[in-house]
Symmetry: C2
DNA sequence: CGACTAGTTGAGGCCAGTCAATGTTGGTGG
DNA sequence: CCACCAACATTGACTGGCCTCAACTAGTCG
């Protein structure tokens, strides 16, 4: 991760989520997310680039906007021109279906880059909506392409970004296509845990930024089912829930749950 | 679509599927798939490129292989180096889950390009397996990237290809996350219909290249459910099934089915 | 012809959805 | 500060769609 201010992701805000107990171990993450942590994620667009390139990237960031909870970053159907890097906060992407059959397609955290689905038809396919007050950097895709033509490692990073989005969705398809409700929810919580962990937050205790209904939409379940399962997980000692605060008490058992046959 | 032999896709084989009744109308498609037909598809990697570029692309196609039904094109975990353009035949991609929880992630027809999920981690995430005897062109991804650096329109096409794969999966997620079994199957058949249509085959009568179990895997259903629904659709006059041959008798009604609330 | 795979159909069970009542939380204004 | 409201969440009773298990049929290939 470079040192150019525009690209650094905001350090975890004190109140934004539950910060890991031992801050010493994670001090490096405070200045910007450690790229070595995020092999599975999309944040490595700037991975392994020289300082000169980073300066060029700096110029790419045309606008850095704040957006309030509930605000729309972009809408399905709106013309595509930018990718958006989340600097702080979080957002959801929502795939609109006919007659209100909408579905949450993803939850996105600082360091992740969204909007890739719009390249194909020059218009966005999803809505992107902030789940909390957030900061977002808009990156001109034309200029990203221009940079990619001149800078081979960056080109590779850009392709990785797109490819990992494909891979992420493959995994999600597997979840929706083959797992029971409890397995889906367990997978979801473990996924959040990993991603918070990679950002220097506690992997075992965090605040859900979305409603039960939104979780359900993402997992192909109804909100009542999500609620019931959270209660059941608590009864079984797997987690502890208090509103949107979740503590994962037995991640090993949660992982075991996933291994069960259908 | 250019005229370079290596890139031309094979004309519909007489016995491969049911050819449209009026061949005259579709004669253009015989020499290579018409790019204007395939806005929704991934086959436009060569769209709108000059003859010179096409010659360069010709050199990219390092191997053109035949592969027999059931043969593996690439395996999950195997090192990534190539994208594969299907020239004739068809194949499935299979996402392997823990303990045999595999799922079909996609069915792929002539003109489509697969393997994009491997870029992100330099290793394939899925298996690709031929559903029938097929011809496949392997494209060195390094050289595609090289070409993309020198040729802006091609770069854009490459990015579109990747983005459309993301968009395709978004749609599939919507299907798996929000639709009933009958709606999923109807959507599946209509999707095949559209894609056969774009290739100059009949949109209303075609041969399924996959088993009921594979259809079920793709749609998150069990093979018995698929079988029962095909029977029901036939009873209701929506389709006519005979083994793997399907006739869509009332596509309007099938589309209406999708509009129903959950 | 037998072995095997693919497909169909039926009976019954269970998981998750539906409907409905109630509880909790957080923001707003008096 | 509290009352109020709306949005969010929990829980229960019931329903139904899809899965499971199982028997049987139809092709296919050696």
């Amino acid at each position: 991760m470079g040192t150019v201010a525009a690209i650094q992701f905001a350090p975890p805000a004190r109140n934004a989520n539950i910060v890991r107990a031992q801050p010493m171990l994670r001090e490096v993450s405070r200045n910007g997310i450690h790229c070595s942590d995020c092999k599975q994620q999309n944040m490595c667009l700037w991975h392994d680039l020289g300082a000169e390139t980073m300066r060029e990237i700096d110029r790419l960031v045309t606008t850095r906007t704040r957006c309030r909870k509930g605000e729309t970053l972009y809408r399905a159907g709106s013309p595509f021109a930018m990718l958006y890097a989340i600097r702080s906060g979080s957002c959801k992407t929502v795939m609109p279906g006919e007659d209100g059959r909408d579905q949450v397609a993803g939850y996105h955290m600082p360091g992740e880059i969204i909007g890739c689905d719009g390249i194909g038809n020059d218009s966005h396919q999803c809505h992107a909506i902030a789940l909390e007050d957030s900061e977002v950097c808009a990156l001109s895709f034309d200029r990203l392409e221009q940079l990619a033509r001149h800078h081979e490692p960056f080109q590779r990073n850009l392709h990785r970004l797109l490819s990992r989005e494909i891979a992420r969705q493959h995994s999600l398809l597997l979840v929706l296509g083959t797992m029971r409700a409890d397995q889906r929810l367990s997978e979801f919580l473990l996924d959040l845990s990993r991603r918070y962990d990679a950002r220097g937050y506690s992997p075992s205790e965090f605040v859900l930024r979305m409603t039960r209904e939104e979780i359900g939409s993402y997992l192909g379940l109804k909100l009542e089912t999500v609620s019931r399962l959270l209660s059941r997980f608590q009864r079984e000692g797997l987690i502890q829930v208090q509103g949107r605060t979740v503590k994962l008490l037995d991640r090993a058992a949660m992982r075991e749950l996933l291994a069960q046959a259908f």
